[in-house]
């Protein structure tokens, strides 16, 4: 079915109001969803490169490169008085970029009459970013301060340690911000190589959501992106696989602090696995709302101030982690045993139909609210693009409806086992505020 009348695009498919096109000259993927609720539109370019594409010596390079992408490009730069931040913030745009394991995304939320400017800027920096060494020097210390701010948080440090302990070969071993010495020493040349390897239209998805007209949008995308050819090389695959874990692992972080944290992680399958949907519901059953299991067994007993579950689907294998932020005088072991006890109960007895039904209702509402506003929708869609299939976002609710209590018991038995676990404690050494 030809859904467009603009030459140069091939209509690919449609799902829940989102249309996918391919730019025939360079294989750029385009996703369009009109929503005229507010006079606002979000433009986003997602590159299929993240910290999973890094190795020792250049961990954090994807993120550092993302910072340098704001330093100027052929048509938008300080020298000509058209710096990216200034151009976009002067029209009231909300702009930023983020980097994570599997992707890097650049986005602009703009008053809809300014959509063209956002498209022009992203097209220009896709292939014409300056990436100068004189810009990397001051930006390195900026990024290092971002790293240092993260290191201030005991939770952030514990989380890095749990991932580094659980994943030894696979690059999910290191966090997206990278190791400090790599941030300090990676060369500009290495960053340019990274850019020239991954920043191509055939390795990117451009998304527009909000108050715009589809045909006009395609005309604008053609106007600005058509000058880019597809890469003349195959974008390299990341082929490292994590060897099978053969026993439980533990890690402890101990330094000045006020209250303990317990984290228990278990490896999970890749994000596009059918089993992901059961994990998403299980985390709600365990931790979302006052009726959740951990709220009753930990929070309502005054043992922790809060519980946080980390269960994001990634392109490769992930982690199902429960974090408990302990109240003063609570022993780490006490809470660890309760968490493992709940897992054991699910392994042996499963979950009730009532729990599952509630978790599905919570999910339906979460998904509905993920469409409240063009940026919210783009942000949710971005994570689906990252794991390799944007329709993961649009079909999520339907797939959730198919999950049964047996499915949840099955994944618990398969994955929430001691041999696949990594447990981390933050143990504070008290010194206090002077």
């Amino acid at each position: 079915m030809a859904k467009n009348r603009v030459n140069g695009f091939e209509f690919v498919c449609s799902s829940e109001g989102i249309d996918e096109y391919k730019m025939t000259s360079n294989d750029l993927t385009i996703l369009l969803m009109e929503d005229h609720s507010a006079p606002v539109a979000t433009f986003m370019v997602t590159y299929h490169v993240g910290s999973r594409n890094e190795a020792t010596g250049h961990t954090g390079a994807t993120h550092l490169l993302e910072h340098l992408m704001f330093k100027g490009s052929r048509n938008f730069n300080k020298e000509t008085g058209t710096a990216i931040w200034t151009e976009l913030q002067n029209i009231g745009a909300q702009i930023n970029a983020t980097t994570w394991n599997d992707r890097t995304n650049y986005f602009e939320v703009v008053p809809s009459e300014h959509l063209e400017k956002a498209i022009a800027i992203e097209a220009d920096r896709m292939r014409f970013a300056f990436l100068k060494d004189e810009d990397r020097q001051p930006e390195m210390t900026v990024v290092r301060n971002e790293y240092e701010r993260g290191e201030n948080s005991p939770f952030d440090v514990l989380d890095k340690n749990i991932w580094a302990t659980a994943y030894q070969a696979h690059p999910y071993h290191h966090s997206t911000i990278g190791w400090r010495s790599d941030i300090e020493n990676v060369s500009t040349k290495r960053l340019q190589e990274f850019y020239n390897t991954y920043y191509w239209p055939n390795n990117a998805t451009a998304t527009i959501i909000g108050d715009f007209d589809k045909e006009q949008a395609l005309v604008l995308i053609k106007k600005y992106f058509e000058e880019h050819s597809a890469s003349d090389h195959k974008v390299p695959d990341m082929y490292t696989e994590e060897p099978k874990q053969e026993g439980p692992r533990r890690t402890v972080v101990s330094r000045a602090g006020q209250a303990g944290v317990v984290g228990i992680g278990h490896k999970t399958p890749e994000g596009l696995s059918e089993e992901t949907y059961a994990f998403q519901l299980l985390s709600k059953i365990l931790s979302e709302g006052k009726t959740s299991r951990f709220n009753k067994s930990i929070i309502d007993k005054g043992l922790a101030t809060s519980i946080f579950m980390y269960d994001f689907p990634f392109r490769d294998n992930g982690m199902f982690i429960t974090y408990a932020f302990l109240t003063p005088n609570t022993e780490h072991k006490t809470v660890e045993n309760i968490i493992l006890g709940e897992y054991k109960s699910i392994i042996e007895d499963g979950v009730s139909e009532e729990e599952l039904s509630r978790a599905k209702a919570q999910t339906r509402a979460t998904v509905a609210f993920s469409r409240d506003g063009s940026y919210a929708a783009a942000s949710a869609l971005n994570e689906a693009i990252a794991i390799g299939k944007w329709t993961f976002y649009t079909t999520f609710v339907d797939r959730i409806e198919n999950v049964s209590t047996d499915d949840i018991k099955e994944i618990a038995n398969k994955y929430l086992v001691s041999d696949q676990s990594t447990t981390g404690w933050f143990v504070p050494q008290k010194e206090g505020v002077e």
């Binding site: 020097q137 509905a368 506003g373």
Partner: protein, 427 residues
């Protein structure tokens, strides 16, 4: 004619309870938020925490439903409902799907009007809140802000902040009687504002409000300033040592002596925005982008609502060994801004930034709800929201530069830094 005037329907379905209903084309989704006067400034003398504990106890059960029954009703619908206390207001907020609105509003009414305040829940709540507060002792940003505001304002001024230990003591000293008395005295319509946006119909919402809230005793608590002003502006410095931190937080600024209704508020706000309101403002452009000394630095005006004399603050983070350079670079920008003022180009750029970002803020039901409620809390008509872009466009360069000279004194700044600081090198 105006976006908000045309789309927001205002009504008083119950005396002292004003609704602001905005129907948008979003499908199924509804967001709401409301508030009434009764925040921490209304806590009995000597214990600010009574107000916040009262709000935090609202979701622990009502006279006819325990907390699990309430939670089950909300969670089964995927709805959310929360309560909190600000300096001046009791606030509630929630979202739900269209078909669940009646259930959620009825629960809201029950929780506000007939809370059970069970004793064992207070004990657990206090343990958790104290745990959270203990954890903030290692938070460099929070400790720097507390120190900064304590240096600017005397005890009992709404902009003053308790030390973390004092806050813990007040939580420990709060009993159930304090909470039920506060609830009885403060909670009720009178100046209650309720904003609701999304897939809603005004008449249905107002009928529901009448059904749920009519008969709730009107309280009509008035917002009045307590006559306390900021300390006289003078140069002060304080260091707060927190061990094992790789980044320090810095607050720099002073009180400005005016509130949001003062004629100089918008020119001064604009002046401060030009200094550090966003990434393309002077501080981020120079201290971060050019010199690479920080991940983040910004400047804003705060504490100006409801008749309070507010303050200007600049906040930034620095590695301990770049702290001196960061402070110096920040002061260079402040001095240049003070001595030479803003330029016409900067003013024009920031006008389009603020009017454009106002529009971008309408992107979601949450953004619209927040704008409508915040405006109503200030006793402003809905039309004011439509006038806001014109107010911004009307600010002149002369007003901006006069405001800098009149309200800022760079020789009398308060500087507070929290982190792992080498005291020997402190200058």
């Amino acid at each position: 004619m105006g976006f908000f005037k045309d789309q927001v329907q205002t009504k008083e379905p119950v005396p002292g309870f004003t609704s602001y209903v905005m129907s948008t084309s979003v499908k199924d989704v509804i967001t709401f938020a409301g508030s009434f006067v009764g925040g921490t400034v209304f806590s009995p003398a000597g214990n600010q925490k009574i107000a916040s504990l009262t709000a935090a106890m609202l979701d622990k059960g009502t006279k006819s439903k325990d907390k699990y029954v309430i939670s089950d009703m909300l969670e089964s619908a995927g709805a959310e409902l929360s309560f909190s206390s600000t300096r001046h207001h009791v606030q509630f907020a929630g979202h739900c799907l269209k078909n669940d609105l009646e259930t959620v509003i009825k629960l809201l009414g029950e929780q506000l009007q007939t809370p059970a305040f069970p004793g064992k829940e207070l004990k657990i709540l206090k343990t958790r809140l104290i745990g959270n507060l203990e954890r903030t002792k290692e938070d460099t940003k929070k400790q720097a802000l507390i120190g900064f505001l304590r240096n600017l304002y005397p005890e009992n001024h709404p902009n003053h902040r308790l030390t973390t230990d004092k806050a813990i003591d007040q939580i420990l000293g709060t009993g159930m009687k304090d909470i039920s008395t506060f609830h009885q005295k403060i909670y009720g319509p009178g100046n209650l504002n309720f904003a609701i946006v999304g897939d809603v119909i005004s008449d249905k919402v107002n009928d529901l409000i009448y059904e749920v809230f009519h008969g709730w005793d009107e309280k009509n608590i008035k917002l009045e300033t307590n006559g306390l002003n900021a300390f006289p502006v003078e140069k002060k410095e304080e260091q707060i040592h927190i061990p094992d931190k790789t980044s320090a937080d810095m607050y720099l600024g002073q009180s400005v002596g005016i509130d949001r209704d003062h004629e100089d508020y918008y020119p001064l706000m604009m002046a401060i925005y030009i200094l550090g309101g966003n990434f393309s403002a002077r501080l981020m452009q120079n201290v971060r982008d050019k010199q690479g000394l920080t991940y983040g630095i910004g400047s804003s005006i705060g504490g100006v609502s409801f008749g309070n004399d507010g303050y200007w603050s600049t906040w930034g983070t620095f590695a301990p060994d770049l702290l001196d350079a960061g402070k110096e670079a920040t002061m260079e920008q402040v001095s240049d801004w003070y001595n030479n003022g803003a330029t016409l180009q900067e003013l024009e750029n920031k006008k389009t930034t603020l009017t454009g970002s106002f529009k971008v803020g309408m992107d979601s039901t949450g953004g619209l709800t927040a704008k409508i409620l915040s405006n109503a809390e200030k006793n402003r008509s809905v039309e004011y929201l439509d006038q806001y872009p014109e107010i911004i466009r009307g600010i002149t360069l002369k007003q901006v530069n006069n405001a800098i000279k009149h309200y800022i004194d760079p020789k009398k700044l308060t500087l507070v830094i929290a982190g792992t600081i080498d005291k020997a090198s402190w200058t």
